[in-house]
């Protein structure tokens, strides 16, 4: 069994929930009157972990799309959301945006921008899949995480929304560790 067969959308949703739960708890702890919204080391550490994970996720998701722009453009065409002019451009640019945003998150270089792009991409994917599902278009997700043959379902939408939640946690984090940005500021 390959990783792609194992990573079905419901399992990814469960992983997303398991990732967000500790963060929600740490966030709740930080809002208690004693701390008054101050960052705790645990929260900083966990948000750094989420940042690295989001970065790895983006790089992993882009690996099949980079260099396969023709197939990816056909996949985007199946979504029936973009004009023929925009389809190849999107197929060309999106994988590299994913890749460089992922690198930016992993190395913590311009990581706020990387996190914003991560959130934008996840939001966009969730919207596109939800829109196509609601109008009855069957599509292969083409997300690069699950089995390429797997049809996009509402689980895919939930998965992207949970990843979006993780991305927002990274975006709004006040402090981070293991970051090039920090090193450059010194």
């Amino acid at each position: 069994m390959t990783a792609q067969n194992f990573l079905t959308d419901p399992i990814l949703c469960l992983l997303g929930l398991l990732l967000l739960a500790p963060w929600a708890w740490l966030q709740y702890q930080a809002t208690r009157p004693k701390l008054r919204g101050e960052e705790t080391p645990g929260k900083t550490l966990y948000e750094t972990f989420l940042r690295l994970l989001c970065g790895l996720l983006l790089v992993y998701a882009s690996r099949d799309k980079i260099g396969n722009a023709a197939e990816f453009s056909q996949m985007i065409h199946n979504y029936q959301l973009l004009t023929p002019f925009l389809t190849p451009l999107a197929a060309l640019v999106i994988p590299w945006v994913e890749f460089f945003s992922g690198l930016s998150l992993i190395f913590g270089f311009r990581s706020r921008g990387g996190a914003l792009l991560f959130c934008a991409l996840m939001g966009l994917y969730a919207l596109a899949i939800a829109f196509d599902l609601s109008r009855g278009v069957d599509i292969n997700c083409g997300c690069g995480l699950t089995d390429p043959a797997e049809l996009a379902t509402w689980w895919s939408v939930l998965r992207d929304l949970l990843f979006l939640g993780a991305g927002l946690a990274v975006l709004f984090s006040r402090r981070t560790l293991l970051s090039l940005d920090l090193w450059l500021k010194k």
Partner: protein
């Protein structure tokens, strides 16, 4: 009794821009996006498999434009068997007008041995494994594969099931549409495709031959 006040002084009211540095985030995101876009265009220009920036949806191949003399498939039960009145419930297609069959439908036809299975995946994937008896008809190179496959589809009423990677796979859709436009009347797509068939443990064959 009144609760003791916390010794930490309360923070002054923060404006939205101070709570989160939006400008910084937007500037960084734009920079990354721009860099990735320029990099993508340059990479595409020098990459061997780079694409044209003008999208051309794959056109169905009109088999009738390339007349091929039909010959019967050796080993197949010959012409269409009329005694198949009951069809398994088809899964309605989204918008393309081609009927989808599920796993049970495909297995049903397979067991009756009166249906031709066409594998629309790449030849390398076909070689790794395919539905037992399926013919390879790669959807992106119809003109190359048609001379080998079409002569074996003698009867235009022959039941044909096309499959590829499952889902709404374009390759099987391309093959199905081309066959329908060429006059074949009973062409359907096996929606689950190869992954579903293999997962179910139904008969498969490796190698180049059907």
């Amino acid at each position: 009794m009144r609760p003791k006040r916390s010794p930490v002084p309360s923070k002054p009211l923060q404006l939205p821009g101070e709570i989160f540095p939006w400008r910084e985030a937007l500037r960084q995101a734009w920079g990354l996006f721009l860099f990735a876009s320029i990099f993508a265009v340059i990479f595409n220009a020098f990459y061997v498999d780079g694409i044209e920036l003008k999208f051309k949806p794959a056109k169905p191949y009109h088999l009738m434009d390339h007349p091929i003399v039909p010959t019967p498939i050796p080993g197949l039960t010959g012409a269409r068997t009329p005694a198949v009145p009951k069809r398994p419930t088809p899964i309605p297609s989204a918008s393309d007008g081609v009927i989808r069959v599920g796993l049970s439908g495909a297995k049903n036809r397979f067991d009756k041995k009166n249906c031709v299975f066409l594998d629309a995946r790449k030849p390398e994937e076909y070689r790794e494994g395919h539905i037992a008896g399926a013919l390879n008809f790669y959807g992106n190179e119809l003109d190359r594969f048609a001379p080998q496959v079409i002569p074996q589809l003698t009867d235009k009423g022959q039941e044909i099931i096309v499959y590829c990677h499952g889902g709404d796979c374009d390759l099987s859709l391309l093959v199905a549409k081309s066959l329908i436009e060429s006059g074949y009347t009973r062409v359907e797509i096996f929606a689950g495709g190869w992954p579903e068939w293999k997962k179910a443990g139904y008969p498969v064959d490796p190698g180049d031959n059907p």
